[in-house]
């Protein structure tokens, strides 16, 4: 079908083509861009597995009563979780659309109407937000269709409506931030809000560990009481859940609400979107002339090691995008710290395992920034400085902040429960060292802006980092349990295996260093 150049359809086709190549990007031998075979193969395999699994699940749930309040509650909870993650990813997508797409100048200088550009960009955000959820949930709709359980088809309108509503909300929020804060600050704030929205549920999922059993029971009873009340199922709050369950009227109502929201967003805000784009395109990423926080004052004459460490810390602290993503990982540590400081019945196994996993992940992220994402590698290579010292300093710059963050909680734990504290210190040090060494030996050069996609560049590094986290996490759990006297032959064998693996991971990284660096 030929689409008129400059029309919404034509622009949308261009947008989808770009998204397709970016999602499944690959290059043919002649340099032409085409979807990568590996990515397509994995997606196809995943799709088949999901369809097979959903076939059995749908058949199993064939006799399920559709009007059971507990099902309504479960679907609604699922939708809240999905909506939170959708909002998080949509905010990030809006930031990319407004600030990071390199074709803004081209589009703004073309005679295309701003409404077309905005509509297509928003549709792109909606499609990107819905895609992942449809990948996992659409097979249930297909299985339902084939088995004659048509209510499963409600998944399609439910997911798409939720994605559109979240995308419109995210776009309005981003544009609102531009109006209130200006383009430069919006970029930072939106990234942090997006990251926090995603993190909120993970933090919330830890609430059960932070609240007493009586409180948990009280909350459960209250919610069930509300749901099972006479006429409660007719409350409009359940509309999305009813739509997901395939009820025709709620599907229509949700569809109408979604269309209205989309049209209102595009009609009312397209001019401001164009203005926001212009602001973003003309705004430097930092305010020129404005003094910035100086975490470490310049001081000439430091040792080479100190000079490199200070430089790496400055670069990390001053990059809000990186910092928000790194801080997010620290955020996940907070529930563990709460357990250490507040709870009387400290769950030492969870603390040992959790600290090992999170510290390993945090160190891996910082080590990648310091070691792999060097902005001026030629400057370092052209200098007479010892490259070994430079790399060791970078490794230290990645490891020290992590150890600093957990130092006080660990000391407190060691005071309260010396054996458990000692174990936690051991596993944290091991996890941090292992993660740092994996990146040190197997990290591949990358660019800072590609922090989120760093995994794509180094399969070996990723696998080893994961192995390091899991090995030290398991060791943390088992050794902490041992301090409580929970020790049997099986646990000793598993702990020995985990310890061997934890030691083997840096060893493997060292052996692979010449090939993978």
């Amino acid at each position: 079908m030929r689409l008129a150049p400059g029309s919404v359809g034509w622009l949308l086709r261009h947008e989808l083509r770009l998204a397709w190549f970016n999602a499944a990007g690959g290059k043919a031998a002649d340099g032409r861009r085409r979807p990568g075979n590996m990515a397509l193969g994995l997606a196809a395999a995943g799709c088949i597995v999901m369809h097979v699994a959903s076939w059995f699940v749908v058949r199993q749930l064939a006799g399920m009563p559709g009007d059971d309040p507990r099902i309504l509650l479960a679907v609604s909870a699922l939708l809240i979780v999905a909506a939170t993650f959708m909002l998080s990813s949509a905010i990030k997508a809006c930031v990319v659309v407004m600030f990071e797409r390199s074709d803004l100048d081209l589009l703004l200088s073309s005679p295309l109407p701003s409404r077309s550009i905005f509509t297509v960009r928003l549709l792109g955000v909606c499609a990107g937000t819905a895609a992942l959820y449809l990948f996992f949930l659409a097979p249930f709709a297909h299985a339902g269709l084939l088995q004659g359980q048509f209510r499963w088809l409600g998944i399609y309108p439910g997911v798409i409506a939720l994605a559109v509503l979240c995308s419109c909300g995210a776009m309005l929020l981003t544009l609102g931030l531009v109006r209130m804060l200006g383009a430069r600050r919006t970029r930072v704030v939106a990234q942090i809000v997006g990251a926090l929205a995603g993190a909120l549920l993970v933090i919330a999922s830890q609430l059960h560990a932070l609240t007493s059993r009586q409180t948990q029971e009280r909350i459960r009873d209250t919610v069930l009481g509300l749901v099972q009340r006479e006429g409660a199922a007719d409350n409009p709050l359940w509309l999305p859940a009813w739509a997901m369950l395939g009820e025709p009227l709620p599907v229509l109502l949700l569809g109408a609400l979604t269309c209205a929201m989309f049209m209102l967003t595009t009609w009312r805000t397209h001019r401001f979107f164009a203005r926001g784009l212009q602001l973003a395109a003309s705004s430097p990423s930092t305010a020129a002339g404005k003094p910035l926080a100086m975490p470490l004052r310049p001081r000439f004459g430091r040792s080479l090691f100190g000079t490199v460490v200070v430089k790496e810390w400055r670069l990390i602290v001053r990059d809000p995008q990186l910092l928000s993503q790194v801080m997010l990982q620290i955020l996940f540590l907070l529930p563990l710290f709460f357990l250490i400081f507040k709870r009387a019945d400290v769950q030492v196994q969870a603390i040992g395992a959790g600290l090992a996993l999170l510290c390993s992940s945090l160190t891996g992220a910082l080590a990648w920034i310091a070691l792999s994402a060097e902005d001026a590698p030629d400057l370092l290579l052209a200098s007479p400085a010892s490259q070994r010292t430079v790399r060791r300093a970078k490794l230290a710059a990645a490891m020290l902040p992590v150890l600093g963050v957990v130092a006080i909680p660990l000391l407190w734990l060691a005071v309260r429960m010396p054996a458990a504290g000692l174990v936690a210190c051991l596993v944290v040090c091991g996890a941090v060292s292992g993660a740092g060494l994996v990146v040190f030996w197997c990290g591949r050069p990358g660019v800072r802006t590609n922090f989120k996609g760093r995994g794509k560049g180094g399969f070996v590094m990723n696998v080893l980092e994961l192995g390091n986290s899991l090995a030290w996490g398991a060791l943390g759990w088992l050794l902490s349990a041992a301090t409580l006297g929970q020790l049997d032959t099986m646990r000793i064998v598993v702990a020995a295996g985990a310890a061997s693996f934890a030691i083997a991971v840096p060893g493997i990284a060292w052996m692979l260093r010449s090939r993978s660096m």
């Binding site: 990423s285 040792s303 430089k311 400055r314 001053r318 052209a382 007479p384």
Partner: protein, 244 residues
Amino acid sequence: MDDQLPALRLVGLRKHFGRPAVDGLDLLVRRGEFYALLGPNGAGKTTTLRLVTGLLAPDAGTIEVLGVDMTAAPAAAKAKLAYLPDEPMLYGKLKPFEYLEFVAGLWGVAAQDAEPRARELLDWLDLTQHANELTEGFSRGMKQKLALAGALIHDPELLILDEPLTGLDAAAARQVKDLLLAHVAKGGTVILTTHILEVAERLAHRIGIIRQGRLIAEGTLVQLRERTQGGSLEDMFLHLMAAP
């Protein structure tokens, strides 16, 4: 230090990337000389400079920087030179003073020398008023000037520049040229590549012309003019490029 030692001596330098990029290059640059290396795109100029600065390892041949073999003693050789590529090697999230502090640290410059030198260079290049800004907000010219300040922070004996004037406005280009001439006047050596033939014509003591990784002509402007019976450097350059 023996004053008779050349600033740079290349003997039979070779580097292949599938095809020869530098093909048996012999070159000698004297101390205190301003040497311009010219050539068309893909002639091997940048590869030569990257070999000289130790960023690439040669397939064959020797590189001596002020008498120090780059392959045998890279750290000692690198300590004597500075390299300014066409894309400035900066950190966007550092301020100018912090960048100079870092570069001084890499070259091991003592604090009592580095700090006043950094202030002097920033002042000279009109960057003092931007000393509290991150370099990511700098214009191309400001970035290039800061990178040049970084290259000069350790007062190198040999300064190597790849297209240092590309993208600079007239005022910034003048500042850079003045700084290079001052460096040579103090006894330093400058080797630069440029596409702006007028720069080579006005600044360089000697000019080398490279094609397909080989030096096809070398000498002062007068010597080159005699050899090609040409008028301007542009005429001579085009004449040499057209020759079989």
